[in-house]
Amino acid sequence: MYKITGQLLSLMAAGLFASTSFSSAASMDDLVAAAKKEGQLTTIALPHDWCGYGDLIAGFKKKYGLTVNELNPDAGSGDEIEAIKANENNKGPQAPDVIDVGLSFGPKAKAAGLLQPYKVSTWDQIPDGAKDADGYWYGDYYGVMSFEVNKDLVKTIPANWSDLLNKDYANAVALAGDPRSSNQAISGVYGAGLAKGGKDGTQIAADGLDFFAKLNKEGNFVPVIGKSATLAQGTTPIIIRWDYLALVDRDNLKGNPPVEVVVPKDGVLAGIYIQAISKYAPHPNAAKLWMEYLYSNDGQIGWLKGYCHPIRFNAMSKAGLLPQDLLAKMPPAENYAKAIFPTLNDQDVAAKAITAKWDSVVGANVK
């Protein structure tokens, strides 16, 4: 397992900070002109409430005057890959130019020949473990696994994974997806396993499954997929999901019900998503411009507004580029200091184990 501690990241960033500027101002202008000639960009799977994408897309449209076709914001990572494949020969506005998928999809998509490489001007500030050396895919933001708690219905706020097994939380705990297919839900199980302190993917996955088996046996686990509506209505008062989604939810609910977002102390799991450009993109220059925009200071701060940690977080923090008011709204930094970023190998191994064994271990019985 490979721990990226805060110190390590900032060490790398400090050394590379000097090269933040664009490779050359002229080439950026060429890119903008070429993109404007293409006139549009097609994205997929970008819900407006996810990492502040709503504002980011609006900002992009305003800055460069391009149209943005937003396909299927409900899509999962698998859908995005399928969409690239299906649109191989299609140059119409149904073909996605850029994708935002889970970490494990990067190498798979590259191996399947679905991506084209591009290195943004701030390339060097992206940590090595979070990007492909040849530039086919690159990490964009990360968050940690947290508990979203409905304070109206839950009197004692849980602080650790182990707390969830208490009797107080009968029929209360839910995941935000189906662990047999959703990256977020699988990460939830993995996070629970991390609390046991295992060393490799297989062990952690087994521990995580074990935890949920216990949770289910105690009667604390609710098999409904947790959403904002079910949290407010009361079916799923505690949802295990990415902290940025929980925080946005808390804001949207405006205190009705009041929500607390807790990062469990005994196991902090970080999850990275990655960006990539489709090999068959009908608007490759617009796609590259979009990447430049996302990885510029404005773009990174846009993600921060959505409570996601942009991949250049440490570099920008060192340079004092992060607005203080935004930082104040984020959860305390100590949570992220202990965050564990699983390697690609650990993730793949764990995902396979969890999806295969979920039904038998958690006992998906239907009466």
């Binding site: 999962g76 698998g78 997806g177 839900a185 509506a229 209505q233 079916t235 999806t355 039904d359 998906a364």
Partner: protein, 316 residues
């Protein structure tokens, strides 16, 4: 079920037994009539078949083809061998059970409701309201429906709380759970019953009042009427709608997903996990799952055809 013979018979009969008709022209007229009907028949069905081939069969074949290859594109039967995993077999069994239960119950309740509204002598505004409502409700599926039932019969649902506060009756302590097989079936009924009502209503309208009156004149009570006249006449339509309800429920995923998300194993959820999921992503296994579903639907259809043929034997 003859047709050509009838036409010929009628045309010949219309000429009358005693009227002399030139022998040569009679077969020509019949032949011409037959020819125009036969060719028009194919012509009438052709647009539909062509449409179905381009927009339904062709994409489905693309999907099915994927079941016979592996990820590298080589021909293999591995996907079908994978289908015999216990998880997948269980999923098929549960899917069939839920679909059959919601189809049969939906057909039964829908029939009763349609009879009540169509022939029960209720005011006519009730009938048009029910028909319109059925149209809307038949497609009220997916997450909104799942949420509606969670908000009604969930642990903190409206009805649950009402029963607990007013009647001091806790349905959850009595063993009920919306997140179960029965809960899912009850939720599915919300779109199955209206579907049945909408489709069976014309058949109920087709039950002539004269038949009822004739039966009652001969001394038959309500039970006899339904047993010997009403139900047999309706039976082929009921069977046809049952087949539709079964397939409708078999392919439904969004409602199950919204309700019992990660605990229920039905085939569409597995299919989606393979095709769309973030992790597993084995589209070829997904294709095999889909092929299995098509085969099962085909078998259900064959069963329906056999039953219908026997029911229609006494009808012309």
């Amino acid at each position: 079920m003859s047709n050509n013979g009838d036409i010929a018979g009628i045309s010949a009969g219309a000429a009358g037994p005693g009227k002399p008709v030139p022998a040569a022209s009679r077969p020509n007229r019949i032949g011409a009539a037959l020819a125009s009907f036969g060719s028009a028949g194919i012509l009438g069905v052709a647009p539909f078949l062509i449409f179905a081939i381009i927009f339904l069969i062709f994409p489905t074949l693309g999907l099915i083809g994927g079941a016979f290859v592996d990820k590298a594109g080589k021909l293999t039967l591995q996907n079908f061998i994978d289908l015999t995993q216990p998880t997948i077999v269980d999923a098929y069994i549960i899917s069939i059970k839920v679909s059959a239960a919601s189809a049969v119950l939906g057909a039964l309740v829908g029939l009763i409701l349609a009879l009540a509204v169509g022939r029960g002598g209720l005011p006519s505004w009730i009938r048009s309201t029910v028909m319109t409502f059925s149209g809307v409700a038949s497609n009220f599926a997916g997450i909104p429906l799942a949420f509606a039932f969670l908000a009604t019969l969930g642990r903190l649902g409206l009805v649950t709380i009402l029963l607990r506060t007013v009647f001091d009756f806790d349905i959850y302590r009595a063993g009920f759970n919306i997140l179960s097989f029965s809960g899912l079936t009850i939720t599915y009924l919300y779109f199955q019953i209206p579907l049945m009502v909408l489709i069976i209503m014309p058949a109920i309208d087709g039950l002539r009042n004269e038949w009822r009156e004739a039966a009652e004149t001969l001394g038959a009570g309500s039970w006899h009427y339904w047993r010997h006249i009403g139900l047999p006449v309706l039976w082929p339509s009921i069977l046809g709608t049952l087949a539709l309800l079964f397939a409708n429920s078999f392919g439904a995923i969004a409602t199950a997903y919204g309700l019992t998300g990660s605990s229920l194993n039905i085939v569409p959820i597995l299919l989606y996990a393979q095709i769309r999921g973030d992790v597993l992503h084995n589209p070829n296994l997904g294709a095999a799952l889909a092929l299995g579903m098509i085969v099962i639907t085909g078998l259900a259809n064959v069963l329906y055809l056999v039953l219908r043929a026997r029911a229609e034997r006494w009808m012309r």
